[in-house]
Subunit: 226 residues, 4 copies
């Protein structure tokens, strides 16, 4: 993959390069549909409903990261993300859905698609069974992949311009840079600066790759409606 | 569903009746293929490879149950299951695969199918985030569903007679009765004998139903090869 | 104990009445020293140093509660507490220590006293091994006990007036009412309104009682310097 | 500390040398009382009662290690330890207590001493919040310290000869060698052979040192009766 990926740090660059499905994720037909604007509205709404459930588990996973943090700085970073998710992103998400005619009760009643379930439980379980590093390696593809998609699609007009602008915007891009820096610092703090030569690196890279594969499954589900 | 299900206790009877996908799981085309003997061999081998990875995570989940047990009896029951899985079932599984021409290295190198991943991580995460009850409710459909399938198919001849005999046999049926009793006792110990009237019961029943749904996904995967 | 305890809800009233060490905790010699103003300054500073480490683990425990929450409201309540702890209480704590001549490096270098370790790890482990209810039952004595102490000592002058005012003040008292309501709602949501008749109630009450016992140990440690 | 410690592997040698309280633990007055035979019987019985509760949590911690294992070999090793603890050591412990006039009901009714609680919850929480390595580093001082004590006291006669023989015997010493090898292999598998130069090593060494400190507290408790 030749590319001009955004610079979210060293771990991101290495893990991304080692994830076989990275391009399939970030250039998925669903994403291209958002870019071209020809993604059927019902597919987008299906995605929003499943994404609501996803965000709840994603918030839980970041809360777990705060519980597993090693120092106050890591805890504050993870806690700020949870707070942002639960008090800003999720209410915003609810509002977008409401405008689209999906009320809160419908959102709550959504049945989790298997692809959704696979992804969120994989991330949470990696975190519970492993440590802070396992967890953030599994969390990274979502945070940073959306950042890369936003970065690439920045300025795109059309029916999905608002969605694109959210992830292309300076606020979300700053989050990506912060998360990338948090990961690099967490790695160096535990494994030294030569962490990419350790077997541990391969395990973390596998978490990133598996989560990336599950992101592809999430887009597939969004597109197919299953 | 009218049926003569085996009697694995009160919780099993209630949860089973409330799981919309129970028949789809226990009468799945894959199971019928085992019964009629016309399941293509390659599908069975694909299943065995994925099941090997499944059993590792299943063993981990039972180990977690031992860690989350409330008294020595619960701990011993869960620990005995882990011991049985790691020291008997899994070596046996490796032996069956070897006879089928799948060596240990191939088994280890198997890439987890999304349906496999979804199921195992769902169970483990339910256990980590919840307590002993959440965990065994999510574990129950696998243990007891295979027992019910074995019970129904008992005495069936053909290419899959050995597989069927394993789950139909008195040893596995005894495990099912013990696990059913463990669940009923664990429920009464924590929630009293009127547990089926509590909201908690609905949550546990949902874990059972979701795990059942993911069992269907596992058979689908085994049959389709994806 | 005859008393006019603040009304932090039904669970608090029941668990408090069943905790043998509640009076020993809330009327501890350390607390009386704060009230009378004759607690030696060095004892207070020792307490502050250990409390800094305590707050880190306490914040981690609330983060775990957010990870184990069942719905968005529970998650938001727990996440708001983590955010408050990491972004307000803890920086404030650091500032108070700084004014008292304890710099951040000294705080970080503090060796955890066994009584501190016993308390924080008990709470976290109760949360990891159990569910949301186990965790908040173990968290409650700290949050609500400080509220009750503040409530009783409100208006007290002297060298520890600032500490007392923090916990007596409307902001902290509101937190206590919210946490009490969160607990009652979480109980009813899972166990129905008759939860106090279930065996589960005894287990939760035991968590509350053990955490209360460990609070006494914490004050003992603060007073003795060990 | 100059010594002829048993050779339980590389990690043990390094962590032991870095634990300030190792000698205070392995040469504790309680241990010397066992060696000289003048430890008051009632102190020993108090120890046995608390140790019963300790073993339950210790078994739970090894079960958690099985849940957090990375491969089948690690899982089998941890599961075998759980099985041994729950099906052999603990029934044996109950039998020894019974002979000493402490029946099962009394054992079950024992109130956990704070020093006991501090130790067991520290180990479990280190395991839940961290990964397999964090857990076994915190578990190591108990397993291997008792091995070293047994090794040093081997052949000692007197009222505590049976206790000493248990830990001095070839069966327990074999367990120590296996656990030492498990730790070294787990470290190399994750961190490469140069693991002792990584920051991670310092964290693991700290877990070992803290658990050792808490072992001293356990003996202190046993001796003082508090």
């Amino acid at each position: 993959m030749t590319d001009n990926a955004p610079d979210y740090g060293r771990a991101f660059a290495l893990w991304r390069a080692a994830a076989p499905d990275w391009a399939a994720y970030t250039h998925h037909a669903f994403v291209e549909g958002l870019r071209r604007g020809d993604l059927p509205r019902e597919r987008f709404l299906h995605y929003l409903r499943q994404d609501y459930l996803f965000l709840i588990h994603f918030g839980r996973a970041w809360a777990l990261a705060a519980a597993k943090a090693d120092d106050l700085a890591e805890m504050q970073a993870a806690a700020a993300t949870v707070h942002g998710l639960t008090h800003h992103e999720m209410p915003l998400h609810v509002a977008i859905c409401a405008r689209a005619g999906i009320d809160a009760a419908t959102l709550e009643a959504t049945v989790e698609a298997p692809a959704n379930l696979a992804y969120t439980r994989y991330v949470l379980e990696a975190g519970y069974s492993g440590d802070f590093l396992d967890l953030i390696a599994a969390l990274a593809p979502c945070v940073l992949g959306y950042g890369e998609i936003g970065h690439r699609l920045a300025g795109t007009d059309g029916p999905y311009a608002e969605w694109i602008a959210t992830y292309a915007g300076p606020e979300y891009q700053a989050i990506c840079h912060n998360v990338g820096a948090l990961i690099d610092k967490a790695l160096a703090r535990r494994l030294g600066t030569g962490w990419d030569a350790l077997p541990r690196h391969a395990t973390l890279s596998r978490h990133f790759a598996t989560a990336t594969r599950l992101e592809v499954g999430f887009w597939d589900m969004a597109l197919s409606g299953n």
